[in-house]
């Protein structure tokens, strides 16, 4: 069966030397227009139709967190703390010469984007968070530890309300050439290991203490049926970021830009145009 998903992907890759030249940060780039920085989730950068569509109106810059770039796994060992990570992202954005960009972050990327906006309060023009992690309520546990401990067949159920949709199937597909499978699996597993450095055992690096510093105009989008990060957190982000609006999407799990692409893209487009 041919998969109906067709993804154009990035136009090019830039390599930015950061952290006293110890890390080669790979940044995937596509499109033309105003700058937009995309912060990827724990599974690493997966270029999807949402990024394709954004690149029709923006220059999309998608940095890959150290360690998650194919062929350069040990860069993660140069990043000891979450604070290091934020400084590294700041350095990348600065060296790319990007100013006043739109920031979009998904899940872990949403936490990073919020923290960047909390630390560098004038860095972004607009901020969009898609089901971000970063807060913690004992009455609404975030299931990242369960996701990391889950057998592969259970993973899609954490991320999608309906894991059978073509976009989800495409994301989880293995390379067709069997010889490429070991390296692919190694990369996927290692990427989760790298991002896990800042998410384990809880995706809580104290963002809740800093969210009040975010003055960037912010859109928070949440899948109502998110099985990984409960939708109650949408309200928390909305409450704690002064200049924010919250949108809940029905029939949607943790990745709204894949599971309800049209609606999500429409909300983002409307927000950025306003």
């Amino acid at each position: 069966m041919t998969n109906p998903i067709s993804i154009k992907g990035p136009d090019r890759e830039e390599v930015i030397k950061v952290w006293n030249d110890q890390i080669d940060m790979k940044v995937k780039v596509a499109g033309n227009g105003p700058a937009l920085v995309y912060f990827h989730p724990a599974a690493g950068l997966y270029w999807d139709e949402f990024l394709d569509r954004l690149s029709e109106s923006y220059t999309v810059y998608a940095p890959e967190m150290p360690g998650t770039s194919f062929g350069d796994p040990y860069a993660i060992h140069k990043v000891d703390t979450y604070w290091d990570l934020l400084l590294i992202y700041q350095e990348v954005i600065s060296k790319l010469g990007i100013e006043n960009a739109v920031a979009i972050g998904q899940s872990m990327g949403g936490m990073v984007a919020c923290d960047m906006a909390a630390h560098y309060t004038d860095m972004f023009s607009n901020l969009v968070c898609l089901d971000p992690v970063g807060l913690w309520r004992d009455d609404a546990p975030i299931m990242t530890a369960d996701l990391y401990s889950a057998p592969p067949e259970k993973v899609p159920g954490f991320l999608f309300k309906d894991p059978s949709i073509p976009a989800a199937q495409a994301m989880f597909s293995l390379p067709t050439n069997p010889e490429e499978i070991p390296a692919h699996v190694g990369h996927v597993v290692w990427t989760l290991g790298c991002t896990g450095k800042f998410l384990w055992p809880f995706p809580d690096q104290g963002l809740g203490k800093r969210l009040h510093r975010v003055k960037t105009k912010t859109l928070v989008i949440w899948g109502k049926d998110d099985a990984l990060v409960p939708v109650v957190y949408a309200e928390e982000f909305g409450k704690q970021i002064a200049n924010s609006q919250v949108e809940i999407i029905d029939n949607c799990g943790h990745i709204p830009q894949m599971e309800q692409l049209d609606q999500t893209f429409g909300l983002v487009q409307g927000f950025l145009a306003a």
Binding site: Y148, S149, A150, P182, V189, W190, L192, G193, W200
Partner: protein
């Protein structure tokens, strides 16, 4: 050859459908499964059985560390080892106190381990063998909250701190990534000049390389079935020993082997079959496979290697409903009358160059009485001949305790 008696501490009265209903680690429901009187009894049984082995002629007593586990209820085995160190001292039993683990990739308090081991060495008069495993992923990461990708870095730093804490003549400051101590000056230091170190591992070349470079003894385990994994792991080990210019001294290699001995082969199979089968199904078999390697715990090259060739893991993937016959055929457990068991152990030791045989004598639901019988038969009819292996070769044993330093 040195022969040690080894036990984990499983809960011995698990329901027959345990493996279908539960995992053996992390989320096993304590209150649903445990009777208070039994849990107490098993703790005392464990120590009684260890003392029986010490009195019966074994060269050492060995155990491991696992937290939040129904198959090995030893969150800190140094507590049991302290009792055994004192009891054997009082009875003048010259047995090694071999703690195969406190797990250094798990520990957030490495200096405490340096101190505990030093105390054990003092109580036992220098009979400690210090085990330094990395820790299984479920224990370090799920139970103790260590980010998986930091497990090995934490192991390395903790090891470094312990070595310095034992050996330094001066008070020193230790400013590590995970350990911050302005003054390190532990009291006591070990009674031996330096306790021998045994490092358990499952054959990962990176881990084995580090073990050889540190001149530790490598300890491998039979649980995955040595007929399936032994040749490849031991060949890899000895090749690496030679590549690194070290001596092929069998004493640098220790091996944990499950054994169950009856008066005859027939009796052994009849007595032990249900216990051995349940032990593997309810123990190792009920650790979810992800619990052995959360993302980041294993180096990316290791993950690629396992996807290409899962052979190092032997029986692991089918352990949850493993058949007794497969366990016996693969030698995951050697079961039989004394001659059968002895023959197989001697063959293993000679083929693979094993200098220290660590015999696991209790399995799953085995009762106290049956465990005592197993220990007695081993001590009387198997161990004496095992001790003679390598006797005609003149190898130094640099991995055996020396007693109190002069």
């Amino acid at each position: 050859m040195k022969v040690l008696s080894f036990q984990q501490m499983p809960y011995r009265n698990l329901p027959s459908d345990f493996a279908q209903k539960h995992n053996s680690v992390v989320d096993t429901p304590y209150n649903e499964l445990v009777k208070a009187s039994e849990m107490h009894e098993y703790h005392v049984n464990f120590l009684d059985e260890m003392m029986h082995a010490a009195r019966s002629g074994f060269d050492g007593l060995a155990t491991t560390e696992h937290g939040q586990a129904a198959y090995d209820i030893l969150p800190n085995p140094n507590l049991q080892m302290a009792a055994l160190a004192y009891s054997t001292q009082v009875e003048k039993l010259d047995v090694a106190i071999c703690n195969v683990g406190r797990s250094l990739g798990k520990s957030k308090e490495a200096l405490r381990i340096a101190e505990e081991y030093a105390v054990l060495d003092q109580i036992s008069g220098g009979r400690l063998i210090a085990g330094f495993p990395v820790a299984l992923s479920f224990d370090a990461n799920q139970n103790n909250g260590v980010p998986p990708i930091e497990t090995r870095a934490r192991f390395a730093e903790n090891r470094d701190l312990i070595e310095k804490a034992w050996s330094s003549k001066e008070v020193f400051a230790f400013n590590g990534k995970f350990n911050k101590h302005p003054y390190v000056n532990i009291w006591p230091r070990p009674a031996q000049e330096r306790p021998p170190v045994w490092a358990p591992a499952i054959g990962n070349p990176v881990t084995m390389g580090n073990i050889i470079d540190a001149d530790d003894a490598f300890l491998y385990l039979s649980w995955f079935g040595p007929k399936l994994t032994g040749q490849r792991i031991f060949d890899r080990y000895w090749d690496m020993v030679e590549e690194r210019g070290k001596e092929r001294n069998p004493n640098r290699l220790s091996f944990v082997q499950c054994v169950a001995v009856g008066e005859t082969d027939e009796e052994a199979h009849r007595l032990y079959k249900p216990h051995v089968e349940a032990a593997f199904r309810n123990g190792l078999g009920s650790i979810p496979i992800q619990g052995l390697g959360l993302p980041g715990y294993m180096d990316i090259k290791g993950v690629e290697h396992i996807v290409k060739d899962p052979g190092d893991f032997g029986l692991v993937m089918k352990m949850r409903d493993i058949k007794y016959e497969e366990l016996v055929d693969s030698q995951a457990c050697i079961v039989g009358g004394p001659e059968t068991v002895k023959e197989q152990l001697i063959e293993l030791a000679k083929n693979f160059g094993i200098g220290n045989m660590v015999l696991m004598v209790q399995h799953g639901s085995m009762s106290h009485e049956l465990t005592m019988k197993n220990i007695t038969l081993l001590a009387e009819k198997v161990v004496p001949d095992l001790k003679k292996i390598w006797a005609d070769e003149d190898w130094d044993h640099n991995w055996w305790p020396t007693g109190v330093a002069s």
